[in-house]
């Protein structure tokens, strides 16, 4: 990374390296733990499972990295995803008579899902920038709104995709190229694009500038509101991308879809080394954070180490440890 290119005294470099590598160290430790506990852990099937199920939170968390970097917060992503999944299923089912049960219908459904994601992000963004309301409050409000809407649309039950259409759509989650499942491919592409945008583009630098000092950013002729609005729309669109991958998995949406995804995404972003109060974001760190969270669940399921009642506690401890590992020296 950029750190290696810098010329610095050896002592300082070592410190920076450790700080940067914190999440990677935690990840490697978890992989070694998993390997020693179960010989199925590194089987192709298990690795695919873990990475593919990380993809939803992962794609969303890439967006959350940008939102948190500009000093914002989006609590509505989980509910938004449930809502988008619900409406996409309704649209897909409704289009069958016109477009037939093939890829044409699914493509229209996918585009609609992306457009609605952008729209939902725009709603959050415009309320935060033009409405001048705290991001926390706006997205707390839309969290409730999206969640209620999906329950209402499903009449309290479950919205299910038409059976035949589902068979056509299924490979989007279960299929893949060159033995790599589609969700993993999409997650990787989104992550690489996110890293490039964050590091190499003016937009990425503007995000960090706004997050570290909004006033200064404004005086530096950055269109603060425009960048912010774009960031929430980016987040919305990525929620749409995640939802496109999610719908074919179980072919349904209900009130439990995407529950607490927002907190998992935020946890992954922070484990990855992005600063919660803004100003610095690290997309590849977020990816590591997401995989760490998935691995914890996976390892606990593969072994009988602790009572399943304690799964949440183990996760909590590891989240805090991962952050302590990389912040310990810096804080002192």
């Amino acid at each position: 990374m950029a750190v290696e290119a810098r010329e610095q005294p050896a002592r300082r470099r070592l410190r920076v390296d450790f700080h940067v590598l914190g999440p990677l160290v935690a990840l490697v430790a978890l992989v070694i733990l998993g390997m020693s506990l179960n010989d199925q852990f590194l089987s192709a099937g298990n690795v695919t499972n873990v990475l593919a199920r990380s993809a939803f939170i992962g794609i969303i968390a890439v967006g959350a990295t940008f939102v948190i970097t500009i000093g914002g917060l989006d609590l509505s992503v989980g509910s938004m995803s449930a809502f988008l999944a619900g409406v996409t299923i309704i649209i897909l089912n409704a289009l069958i008579p016109q477009l037939g049960g093939g890829w044409a219908t699914i493509l229209v459904g996918m585009l609609a899902c992306l457009a609605m994601g952008l729209g939902a992000g725009f709603l959050n963004g415009i309320l935060i920038t033009k409405g001048r309301i705290e991001a926390f409050i706006v997205t707390l409000g839309t969290l409730g709104i999206f969640r209620s809407l999906v329950v209402w649309l499903a009449n309290g039950g479950t919205l299910s995709l038409d059976f035949n259409l589902r068979e056509v759509y299924r490979p989007v989650y279960y299929g893949g190229v060159a033995g790599i499942a589609w969700p993993i491919v999409v997650f990787a592409l989104v992550a690489v694009a996110g890293e490039i945008v964050m590091r190499k583009t003016a937009y990425g630098r503007h995000c960090a500038a706004i997050g570290s000092n909004e006033q200064v950013a404004r005086y530096s002729a950055i269109h603060v509101d425009r960048v912010r609005l774009a960031t929430y729309m980016l987040q919305g669109m990525l929620v749409g991308v995640a939802t496109i991958m999610y719908v074919p998995r179980l072919g349904s949406a209900s009130s439990t879809t995407g529950l607490l995804w927002e907190l998992e995404a935020i946890a992954a972003v922070i484990i990855g080394g992005t600063v919660l109060k803004g100003g610095f974001g690290r997309v590849w760190g977020t990816v590591v954070g997401v995989v760490i969270l998935s691995l914890i669940d996976n390892i606990l399921n593969l072994t009988d180490l602790v009572s399943p009642y304690l799964n949440g506690a183990i996760q909590g401890v590891i989240i805090i440890l991962a952050v302590v590992l990389q912040r310990g020296r810096k804080g002192a």
Binding site: N49, A154, S254, T257, L259, N301
Partner: protein, 319 residues
């Protein structure tokens, strides 16, 4: 079974309508409060649907009855709902499906102490004797019926995995009864994890079970939402032929599979959310008929097989 209950309720209505009009008008005026958990998963979604439907039907049949329906996302909100009903709506009766037993016992007792008719549904209160009428699902039977089915289907034993619900008394009662039922057989529970009655969670837990155990003969998913997630995970691993899945509750997609003779879903065990409708109807009868309406009404958990699946299929219900 629900049909039977409907017939019984219908007979009561007919009897009530046959009463002299004057007596009915006087006796029939009542406000009934209904407090239920909000639709946070499939089963409670069904509860909401059936409660709304029962209220609509009763309102049409008895214009003098007024209903107040409140749904709560947590026990605290449910307590507030009940307090509001007492303070502002002056209810004559309360039908309550408690979110949790302990926190709701005190507030429901205050309603009973004020001389109101109290019907408790599904989850009992922590103290006996508070309610006038108890309409209950049978969680022990739910686990036992499932366990008996496993014994019958696997006479020579086999290896199974179990998915549990949200850690609660309900879940504990079911699992204990299940374990008791398969005691003495050669059925071996290889793994047991909480899937929280959630389709996504169950999908992931089952994926991990499939990686962990090379040999699984059957799965007790203990809930239809979880069963659907489990089936998807088995399909992904390409092990459809190796195992079958038993869910529970009576979700319409699962009943459809049983009816169609799906090899992976040979049966289901009911735990009908429509029990809320039974409770509301019986409570309404307390005000429009002279028939005694106090006591316990236990709704059995029964095994659904391709032969009787039709009786348990409700295409209109969201669950």
């Amino acid at each position: 079974m629900k049909r039977l209950m409907n017939i019984a309720a219908g007979a009561l209505f007919a009897a009530a309508l046959a009463l002299p009009g004057g007596a009915l008008a006087q006796e029939g005026k009542a406000t009934i409060g209904v407090s239920i958990p909000s639709a946070t998963h499939g089963w409670t979604g069904g509860v909401n649907f059936h409660a709304q439907q029962a209220i609509d039907e009763l309102k049409a049949a008895y214009p003098d009855l007024t209903f107040v329906l409140a749904t709560a996302g947590d026990p605290g909100k449910q307590v507030s709902d009940i307090e509001d009903m007492m303070a502002t709506r002056n209810i004559d009766a309360l039908v309550v499906l408690p979110f949790e037993s302990d926190p709701l016992t005190g507030p429901v007792k205050r309603v009973a102490d004020a001389g109101k008719f109290v019907t408790v549904v599904d989850r009992g209160l922590s103290q006996p004797g508070i309610q006038d009428l108890y309409v209950a699902g049978d969680n022990t039977a739910f686990g036992r019926v499932a366990g008996d089915y496993f014994k019958e289907k696997m006479p020579d034993g086999g290896k199974i995995v179990v998915l549990r619900g949200i850690p609660t008394t309900i879940d504990n009662e079911r699992v204990e009864a299940f374990q008791k039922a398969i005691e003495g057989s050669n059925i071996e529970i290889e793994g047991m994890e909480h899937g929280d009655w959630n389709r996504d969670k169950a999908f992931e837990v089952m994926q991990d079970f499939l990686s962990k155990y090379a040999e699984i003969d059957a799965v007790w998913a203990s809930d239809d939402d979880m069963a659907l997630g489990v089936i998807e995970a088995i399909k992904q691993a390409g092990r459809e032929g190796d195992m079958w899945v038993l869910g529970g509750a009576g979700m319409k997609q699962m009943i459809e599979k049983v009816q169609a003779g799906d090899k992976m879903v040979p049966a289901d065990v009911t735990y009908p959310p429509s029990m809320i409708a039974t409770a509301i109807r019986l409570t309404a009868d307390r005000f429009v008929s002279k028939a005694p309406m106090a006591g316990r009404f236990v709704i059995d958990s029964v095994l659904v097989t391709p032969e009787n699946a039709k009786e348990h299929y409700f295409p209109d219900s969201p669950f």
